[in-house]
């Protein structure tokens, strides 16, 4: 992700008098931004006034809640690889951004948030809509800064974009007092070139690469775990070359999903709590574990004290703080994933681990017989989430961007959706933010208008950010919404069933008529309650030119399996 040369369509002299608010707009244009998500309010009004003159160059999408702006910016960033931008006013506008910022922080999503702030003379006086957003956002931002002088604006925003997109990407927040937005300055924009205290990417240590290659070359049962690092460094093809050359079975975290073709012969599936049987089981039977751009989240590792203890661990990672954080690495290769994979790819020997791969196939078959077959082609009367995803796969041929919310449908989508190209699965991985999906899907569709974007949401999460239907209505953005309705907060209910004696405390959802709601937003809809309606409805949804809402009534008390119970080891993964 490179800084774009400043090519504003406005005829501007290199140095021009303008106010701070106009400087915000020109800084965004200088960074190549053409789309932002936001919500106006008192303290950010000067910036909105400046935006009014640049509607063509800088498209502002009015969301219905600031949280929606952050998730839309995240969806935009995840689908495009560019920095997502959102904008909000002070006080409640700013605090409403926090969930999305925390989500972007834990999922390393590049995002720049701009908030208005009360005038600098009022700071600390409990002025109307004053909140200490710098203090509040500090633990969940990669960087943040308060601007109180107009002259700081170009520099602060240049630095913000640089920090958001470089190294391990993340969210930054720039808070701009209202007087700074009004104050005049001589505008000139210089892209930020870096700073000594911020090493964006450690220099690759070739002796570490050599050590890693030697371990891989002598491995008999190697297993690769890949995460979003592959996607963030744009290393998909280098990754594929590396695993193909060394014949390495490769499993993914949900953040790494779609970096490798779902049907690739070395793709052995999903890691973690509701991942596939084979890669979880065999994590504890491999002799070498090669982690690429992933951070050994607890949902991936299960009980750490019984995690891959038999294996030598190689960790390719950009962030030094991630090395040895959860799993001790025998060899840590610090640096950019693409660079590391190219270097490693040259040193590994061409191999095929057929017998070892066969062990995955056998466990895959076991999982298919016990779980997958019934999920995708159910004998039960009620519809399953899996067959809905299968139907979407069949009709999109794995070419759609799938955006999910959080819960059972998320796990099912990750397990069963098929992908042929990278950046096609957008989900809230680390934070598990319900309500993420609908706005994120809007952002993804704005980023990739020519791709089909299918939002898969549970009935719970849908109602957390349901107001963004208004954004769809106003912008006519043609996202396809699939609500898998089991009238439960399904994942919590599943846990209650398995671990809390079926005491279904506050997980029953008494839902409104969703079709009536979307009708109000003029969104075409269909509700599927019977199996024979499903394929036709999915086809109709995908063929329809505008936004579409498809509600599918699925089995109320279906569970997602396999499952690694909390505190269990990956090898204790249960098929039922």
């Amino acid at each position: 992700m490179e800084a774009v040369e400043y090519k504003s369509k406005q005829k501007m002299k290199p140095e021009q008098q303008m106010n701070g608010a106009q400087a915000v707009v020109h800084s965004l244009l200088a960074e190549g931004v053409d789309l932002i998500f936001g919500y106006p309010g008192g303290a950010i009004m000067p910036v909105y006034d400046a935006l009014y003159d640049y509607e063509k160059e800088l498209n502002h999408i009015l969301v219905r809640h600031e949280q929606g702006a952050t998730h839309a910016a995240q969806g935009y960033a995840r689908a495009s690889g560019k920095v997502g931008v959102c904008i909000a006013t002070s006080g409640p506008g700013a605090t409403n951004l926090i969930t999305g910022i925390a989500d972007a922080q834990i999922d390393s999503t590049p995002m720049v948030c701009i908030t208005g702030q009360v005038a600098s003379s009022l700071l600390g006086t409990d002025a109307f809509q004053e909140t200490d957003v710098i203090g509040i956002s500090m633990p969940v931002t990669k960087w943040n800064y308060q601007v109180t002088r107009a002259s700081e604006i170009p520099g602060a925003l240049a630095k913000a974009f640089y920090i958001a997109r470089t190294g391990k990407p993340g969210p930054v927040l720039v808070d701009i007092t209202k007087d700074a937005q009004f104050e005049m300055l001589e505008f000139s924009y210089k892209p930020f070139k870096g700073m000594r205290s911020y090493v964006t990417c450690p220099t690759l240590n070739l002796s570490k690469v050599q050590q890693a290659a030697e371990i891989i070359n002598s491995a008999k049962r190697p297993l690769v775990l890949f995460g979003q690092g592959v996607i963030l460094s744009g290393a998909e093809s280098q990754f594929q070359n590396f695993i193909e050359k060394a014949g390495l079975p490769s499993a993914w975290t949900i953040m790494g999903l779609s970096a490798l073709d779902s049907d690739h012969y070395l793709n052995v599936g999903m890691l973690g709590m509701h991942g596939n049987y084979a890669p979880n089981k065999l994590t504890n039977e491999c002799d070498v574990l090669i982690a690429v751009g992933m951070r050994f989240d607890d949902r991936v590792t299960g009980d750490l004290s019984r995690y891959a203890k038999q294996a030598k661990v190689i960790h390719l990672e950009i962030d030094p703080a991630e090395v040895d954080k959860n799993v001790k690495a025998d060899v840590a290769v610090l640096g950019d994933a693409k660079e590391a994979l190219v270097a490693l790819g040259q040193l590994v020997e061409r191999k095929e681990h057929q017998e070892w791969l066969q062990e995955f196939r056998e466990l895959e078959f076991e999982e298919y017989s016990e779980v997958i077959k019934e999920e995708l082609n159910p004998s039960q009367e009620q519809l399953t989430m899996g067959e809905v995803i299968r139907s979407v796969n069949d009709h999109t041929e794995g070419k759609a961007i799938v955006v999910t919310d959080v819960g059972q449908h998320q796990m099912v989508s990750c397990r069963y959706a098929k992908f042929k190209q990278s950046r096609s699965l957008i989900t809230s991985g680390g934070l598990g933010t319900m309500g993420f999906c609908l706005p994120a899907a809007i952002g993804a569709k704005f980023a990739k208008p020519n791709r089909e974007v299918v939002a898969v949401i549970g009935d719970g999460g849908f109602q957390m950010t349901i107001q963004e239907l208004g954004t769809i209505f106003q912008t006519k953005i043609p996202v396809k919404i699939v609500v898998l309705n089991n009238e439960f907060l399904g994942m919590v209910r599943q846990w209650q069933e398995l671990f809390f004696d079926k005491r279904y405390a506050s997980t029953t959802m008494v839902n409104p008529d969703f079709q009536k709601i979307v009708e109000g937003y003029d969104i075409k809809s269909k509700k599927v309650t019977e199996r024979e309606q499903l394929n036709g409805a999915v086809e109709e949804m995908l063929d329809f030119e505008g936004a579409y809402f498809l509600e599918v009534k699925v089995g109320k008390e279906n569970n997602v399996f396999p499952m690694i119970p909390t505190g269990a080891s990956v090898s204790e993964i249960r098929l039922k």
Binding site: M195, S197, V199, P320, A321, K325
Partner: protein, 174 residues
């Protein structure tokens, strides 16, 4: 095993950075026993000296998390025998106790403490040293009546010879 560690954090000069540094500790519920902020020998580089009692593994992870902060240049940790450290304590006592038979005066002298200021009503005594030393003086003066007491955070100089200048040069030429 938990031990006392001195963490030195070298940073750019930036408003709010102290908050960002302490958040790294508070998020993990690590108690900061003392903290001191000052300039360093290099222009525009600040240093925080932070004392915690933790396992080395935790301290190591914390320093990596500190270095991850955009404006933190370097964070290092040391055990007590790897640093030369001091704290400063100031005692405000009634001037009258120093005039009564010389016992309090003897205590002050035997601790090699300095008298900073003598007023009619009170005298300010300064003692630098390790915490146990300043505490010992406190304990001995306490029966005479201490009007006010304050002790600074630890400041520490590291024994290893790698200089901040060389670290900064490396980073700037990277």
């Amino acid at each position: 095993m938990k031990k006392k560690y001195t963490i030195s954090v070298f940073t750019e000069d930036m408003v709010g950075l102290l908050n960002r540094v302490t958040i790294v500790f508070t998020r993990r519920k690590i108690n900061i026993e003392s903290i001191a902020a000052s300039d360093s020998e290099v222009k525009d580089i600040h240093r925080y000296t932070i004392v915690v009692t933790e396992t080395e593994e935790t301290v190591k992870k914390v320093t990596l998390q500190l270095e991850k902060q955009v404006e933190v240049i370097k964070a290092v940790y040391h055990l007590d025998d790897e640093v030369i450290y001091q704290e400063i304590a100031l005692f405000k006592v009634p001037t009258s106790i120093l005039l009564q038979g010389g016992e309090a005066e003897h205590i002050v002298r035997s601790h090699h403490a300095r008298v900073l200021s003598v007023e009619t009503q009170f005298t300010v005594i300064e003692k630098t040293g390790h915490k146990d030393e300043t505490q010992k003086l406190f304990n001995e003066l306490e029966p005479f009546g201490i009007l006010e007491f304050v002790r600074s955070g630890r400041v520490a100089i590291t024994k290893p010879m790698r200089t901040l200048t060389s670290i900064v040069n490396e980073l700037e030429n990277a």
